[in-house]
Subunit: 175 residues, 2 copies
């Protein structure tokens, strides 16, 4: 069954700063039909794709990756900001529009047997996802697929994620 | 089917600071059998409990509340740190061991028709949950149930959450 996700995505002007139109997925979460549509679609896409683990980026990625991990009965690997994971971690520093950020993963959660589906809520420049791929690769895993609910292809994530099969459920284009 | 959750919970000494033993739920996420056991149990507990919406506390609460919202087809309300939610919010300031914190919810996500199941991963002093209850009450909702995967009853959350039915799947006691 198809669902028009656009109806459930809230558009917030000037967030987090003036001139940015923010695509907010919390509207999806408040509509069970929309949220279930997303998880059903993700299950269709990845149930027989050969992936055997799911990695999610803090914290909105958790919202879509966790239900999928339950459905597919696959391990769920958390990728978090610096200092949030209590065990021994791999760590990757990356550049954002303003300054730097660090993303970490528990060393014991990553190994060379994994074909990973990497999930975030929204794909914009792809910078965070690229850092996440580098992080998982440090642990010997292979990132096989990349998924976001929302894509903003005009920010050119396809370039930085070249070679990785990326899927989204809905795309928005520059105003 | 029963599952010994203790086997899946990682115990990290001296995190986030010396003298604290941290109960880490990421071990549950990495074991599909353990993670599914948690969601199955939550579904058993709350499918017929009269709740009609689920609220989750950033960010580990998202991991357990999102799959349950999918299973029960209920709205999922995010409770986040200050500045993370893009729309208009209610906000509650509360005291932590070191300083203060602020928790927020989108105004449009809360209303007086809601009987809410409030979820976090771990219940310790109950201070954050108490602030979350105050926040949801500001919007006219009623918090009907409170749930955590892990409980630390020796930190006396039962006192601060008096009057709210609290359930956990596993409890730990002071060493």
């Amino acid at each position: 069954m198809e669902y028009n996700l656009d109806n459930a995505i809230r558009k917030i002007p000037d967030f987090p700063k003036k001139g940015i139109l923010f695509y907010d997925i919390t509207g999806i979460l408040m509509k069970p039909e929309a949220f279930n549509y997303c998880i059903d679609k993700m299950e269709e896409l990845y149930a027989s794709s050969g992936v055997n683990a799911i990695a999610v980026i803090e914290s909105r990625g958790f919202l879509f990756g966790a239900p999928l991990a339950i459905r597919l009965k696959m391990p769920l690997i958390l990728l978090r900001k610096k200092g949030k994971l209590p065990g021994e971690t791999y760590s990757v520093k990356f550049t954002l529009e303003y300054g730097e950020d660090v993303i970490e993963v528990h060393k014991e959660d990553v190994d060379s047997s994994q074909n990973i589906l990497l999930i975030d809520d929204l794909i914009a420049t792809g910078g965070t996802l690229k850092a996440a791929i580098e992080l998982l690769t440090k642990g010997g895993a292979r990132v096989a697929r990349v998924f976001g609910i929302v894509g903003l292809p005009f920010l050119n994530y396809a370039d930085i994620l070249k070679g990785y099969p990326v899927k989204t459920l809905i795309n928005y284009h520059a105003e």
